[in-house]
Amino acid sequence: MTEQMTEQKRTVAIHVPVLTRVEGEGALDLRIDNGEITELRLRIFEPPRYFEKFLEGRHYTEIPDMVARICGICPVAYQVTAAQALEQLFGVELDPWARDMRRVFYCGEWIQSHSLHIHLLAAPDFFGCNSAIELARIAPDEVRRGLRIQALGNELMELFGARSVHPVGIRVGGFHGAPSLLKISAIRDQLRAALPEAEALIRWAASIAVPQDDQEFISVAMQHPTDYAIETGAIGVSDGLRIEADAFDAYFTERHEPHSTALFSTYRQQPYLVGPLARLNLNHALLPERIKALLVEIGLVLPSRNLFHSLVARAVEILLALHEALRLLDGYRLPDSPSVPVTPRAGVATGCTEAPRGLLWHRYEMDDTGCVVNARIVPPTSQNQGRIEEDLRLSLLAFGLDHPDDALRLHCEQVIRNYDPCISCATHFLRLNVERT
């Protein structure tokens, strides 16, 4: 970190080699000339992983297990999205049991991923802590609670996927197996017991002092007529447009930038937000009444234009996921078969779901033997990348550029962590270089 004074304005160059508490490896370059930001680039340099290329030639039966390997945090999102896209192409009508259990499985992933992000990645920032280990000294009960909630999400995933990391439960046509009544009864007791814990988590999250920020941005999230969209629905935009998955390319554009191995996405040439806050902004009217009352109690007004509300949005979605899992497991029955027969056909399969970090879109061109001709996967982080850069610029200007370099760096890190970026999915850390003249 170096600093020097010019005659008019100070000249500062900051080099922060690593941003921790994000999934993956990246860097941020920030240059300030004469009190103005002249360069701001979120640089993702993690090598491309070529997953889409690996999928070519693979049989449809292999796809759910292969795509689960893209992410250790949100494998269910990848599995469900792929399976549903292919099921639609193949004309497969799922058993209602399988449809409901897909959503329950997905709820498990939201619960574990959101709790991990709140307690281990994001919250330490707001308590002046460098890590969850430091946070545990200040708020041990809250961290313990977070770990319990996260573990419950993992258990729910294990129930349907045999394991929580890279689960193997989903197949095109349904599931490989159905959990026993005994296991469902036990997890329902645990889910019910977690409800007051999740409510307490929302109150705690809402009590954390966060910067006041007010930005105009486009929210993009799936919408469903009757449910808070997770695994089904069309793509909704805060400008009122609703877009079916197969029309994604007509509105959303991906482009390469020299400084990033992840693609940048725009909606009608503009950056946009996906993820918990975008979902809450678009779908809060569909929350259960109990959660709506809680939002009134904590004073969270939606839609929100403050990205720092992302932390409490995750807490809200944890409670929602608990409610949904309990609702769908009420009256659980064992299906005649956990899956239905599948006959592949040639064509193009598209589908999307709401991964914990936001909209996840898949497209597969399939041949008549059920093998992948080509595949395209648009993960949430690449969609948020442009919005993160825009947010950083606006948020830094609102914060003020005259703060000490360490304060600027922390603010940048907080902003970036609001998005819970999964750089591994998008193509790993952030290195921050700030230069001022």
Binding site: E23, G72, L120, I133, P140, R144, L147, N154, V165
Partner: protein, 155 residues
């Protein structure tokens, strides 16, 4: 017997399977899970490791390590050694040591924790582990099996 967990940590990348291979060698050598003994192979468990420590009296944890020592060297870490172990192989910023440090902060560590590292070479995705790692896993499994037979009364 009080709750005992033997956890081998790894990934499918070459020598990083050291923890898994040790578990395989333990099982092949006649040490079996059951009753109060849980034996598991874990793929980069992150914070989930803390919940796996819950309620255990004795945890034996085996992971790969890189410290510029000879490949296949086995090292046992006490709690005081953890900081030296900190530069782990986790790509997501929350590795085994972070989980253990958080567990310690929360008072969740077992009465006895045996943390073993097996020195590995460069990690190659999809490749089998090297012969030095295979041999080290066998040696460590024999050592752990002998420890289990010498279980102290207070564990």
């Amino acid at each position: 017997m009080s709750p005992t967990r033997i956890l081998g940590i790894g990934s499918p990348s070459g020598d990083d399977q050291a923890g898994w291979l040790t578990i395989d060698a333990l099982l092949a050598g006649g040490v079996h899970a059951g009753g109060e003994v849980v034996i598991e192979k874990l793929d980069r468990p992150g914070a989930n490791l803390i919940t796996l420590l819950d309620g255990a009296a004795w945890v034996i944890l085996i992971d790969a390590m890189q410290s510029h020592e000879a490949i296949g060297r086995i090292q046992r870490f006490g709690a005081a050694d953890w900081p030296a172990y900190r530069q782990g192989l986790s790509s997501h910023g929350f590795g085994v040591l972070d989980a253990l440090a958080l567990a310690r902060e929360l008072g969740s560590l077992p009465r006895r924790l045996d943390l073993y590292g097996i020195e590995i070479g460069p990690v190659s995705p999809g490749k089998p582990a090297g012969s030095e790692i295979q041999a080290a896993a066998q040696q460590l499994a024999r050592q752990i099996a002998a420890d289990l037979l010498r279980r102290p009364d207070d564990i």
